[in-house]
Amino acid sequence: MSEKITMAKALNNGLRKSMEDDPKVVIMGEDVGKLGGVFRITDGLQKDFGEDRVIDTPLAESGIIGTAVGLAIRGYRPVCEIQFDGFVFPGFDQIVSQVAKMHTRSAGLVRIPITIRIPFGGGIGAVEHHSESPESYFAHAPGLKVVSCSNPSDAYWMIQQSIRSDDPVIFFEPKRRYWSKGEIEDAPLPLHRARVARAGTDVTVAAYGPMVTTALEAATVAADEGRDVEVLDLRSLSPLDMPTILESVQKTGRLIVVHEAWRSVSVSSEVAARVQEQAFYALEAPVLRVTGYDTQYPPSRLEEEWLPNVDRILDAVDRSLSY
């Protein structure tokens, strides 16, 4: 085990490693060069790898994704940075109609090994469009793989695995955890495997990205109250690691899914729908969800309450156990 580093640094190290390992890896996006990105995730990379491999693009997300597709066809392995979650939508068409479909369209003859990095989620006191959780949109689209890291070690390994993936990966980074520290494990889990972040027997709380920390905090509080909460870090939102989820539910009989994203037609809807089907007799309570409400992301003075938090998770634990 190594020293503790921040998630931001872990991502930066992971990107650097990928660029060293494969000369076809290029980083592209707004302000990724000298500035190192608004979150400094690409800090120093342009200096070390040059302007040809760390590309400050014009300000146009469709252009970023669309040219990445062309680079991929030419044999490159582009890593696109979307500056904030709310700014991915001008590139949405290129993502769902081109990135996601090109491999099928070519009967498998073209590979589009693009990684699209998106800092996501709230809790940083930002203005509109800077705190969104758009992962559900992408998890609906076949042809995309969607993952999110929750700690520095996963950040370090998962970004490299995503870049190495021959399939396109939408990589969600929990921006409010960028500065939290942790050690880097010696070896990674497979990219699309969920992880038991805390073993427990009474109820399962499944989360990902920024909410894993919150779920673990809730589990700690619950433990004081004599409730043994198992916390799953889903890590991969598409595909979902159903065996790991089902194993946990078989054990606890109760599941709560937590994310910041809006509730309706979201990743938690899908988890609930699958679990109630695949573990019908194991469930002692309905799958509950603790999520962002179905409103616009609120002004930051309200975000602490609006976001899923320990209180709301504990409340769901109570409700689940009361069935």
């Binding site: 500035l35 014009p58 300000l59 006191g125 409400y293 179905d294 609120p298 002004p299 309200l302």
Partner: protein, 374 residues
């Protein structure tokens, strides 16, 4: 031969009516009939919006605002354009047009909610014919274009009646010029011959990217590719901004179709209070631009040429202090959002499922407040 190419023009002509030294100069296409009192009024605008900006930055430092996008250096472009508007014209800002808001009569406090996190804008575009700030780069240019379609359908263009004919002014930045939406706006505006003036504040930077990352030719020339006139002005010259925008708006309202104005200016401060420009640009560049300060030249002109009341400059200074206090005190007094507000403002016709979530949330917030009180 029909090959067209615009060579790179390193320093193309810019319309200038007031030199950095405060010299009034004439331009044949943009005669400007303006009294010294009117110039003094512009001076007051410039000073006051700079003061609002200074105060907002201070408030951000003190933790009262989450963020602020400074207009320092761009006052002239904005005040000139803002004062060129007629009351019934409509303006579509991006997120930095505090000076334009000022000209429209928007209380600066109204702008602070977004940056303080008490609302997402929260004002009516109709009150001052000034639309909400738009953060997604370029999106507002299409809104302006569509609004102009409505103006045409209302028969409020080219009638010759100045109280009826309406123009629309759309603001965007040099970085924004690369967005599909901005270029689609040009397509729609040109094809529909719409009464919309596109006002690009080329402040040389899009966060850390210099304008050369977006375009290899001056941005005003973009219009020529779509078939309407583009012009570059000295964006630090309030008189040029006023005269050229006024003419462009008049052309637009007289059914002459769209116009593009590129205001060549400079972002003197960081992109926002979250940004650190020392990582990507040299202090020397900023120093050079200080010599072209938009306020100093107006003051120089007034001092040298105008017959103003003796206390004029002191009065403006005093007024700016009062305004600063208004901003300072008012900001802290801005009401926090109620828990119900995101739900209540979601739809005109609230569905039951939203009402249920609202009630759950309101109850939840009340319960933690109660717990906190215990």
């Amino acid at each position: 031969m029909s090959e067209h190419v615009n060579a790179v023009q390193p320093e193309p002509d810019m319309i200038q009516l007031l030199t950095p030294e405060g010299q009034r100069v004439e331009h044949p296409d943009y005669p400007l009939d303006i009294t010294d009192d009117e110039i003094a009024a512009l001076y007051r605008d410039l000073v006051l919006v700079r003061r609002i900006d200074t105060e907002a930055i201070a408030l951000q430092r003190q933790g009262e605002l989450g963020l602020w996008a400074s207009l320092l250096g761009q006052e002239a472009a904005q005040i000139g354009a803002g004062r060129a508007l007629r009351p019934h014209d409509m303006a579509f800002p991006s997120y930095r047009e505090h000076g334009v808001a000022w000209c429209r009569g928007v209380d600066p406090l109204t702008l602070l909610g977004l940056f303080r996190g008490t609302n997402l804008g929260g004002f009516s575009p109709y009150e001052h014919n000034f639309n909400l700030y738009t953060i997604v780069i370029g999106a507002q240019t299409l809104h302006a274009t569509g609004y102009a379609m409505g103006v045409v359908r209302d028969g409020a263009v080219g009638t010759g009646d100045p109280d009826r004919d309406t123009a629309v002014l759309a603001f965007f930045g040099d970085g924004a010029s690369s967005q599909g939406d901005v270029n689609e706006s040009f397509v729609f505006a040109a094809a529909g011959n719409l009464p919309v003036v596109f006002f690009c504040q080329n402040n040389q930077w899009a966060i850390s990217e210099p304008v050369e990352r977006q375009s290899r030719i001056p941005l005003f020339q973009r219009a020529s590719g779509f078939g309407f006139p583009g012009v570059r002005i000295d964006g630090n010259d309030v008189l040029a901004s006023l005269a050229v925008t006024r003419k462009a708006l008049d052309d637009a309202r007289n059914a002459q179709g769209p116009r593009l104005i590129e205001a060549f200016t400079y972002r003197m401060n960081a992109h926002t209070t979250s940004d650190d420009p020392t990582r990507y640009r040299l202090g020397a560049e900023t120093e050079t631009w200080k010599l072209r300060d938009p306020i100093a030249r107006v003051k120089a002109y007034l001092v040298r040429n105008a017959q103003l009341p003796v206390d004029f400059f002191d009065d403006v200074e005093a007024e700016s202090l009062r305004l600063a206090e208004h901003v300072r005190i008012g900001c802290r007094a801005l009401p926090n959002p109620t828990p119900a507000s995101p739900f209540d403002a979601l739809f005109v016709d609230m569905p039951d499922e939203v009402r249920e979530q609202r009630d759950e949330f309101v109850e939840f917030v009340a319960s933690i407040e109660e717990a906190a009180e215990v």
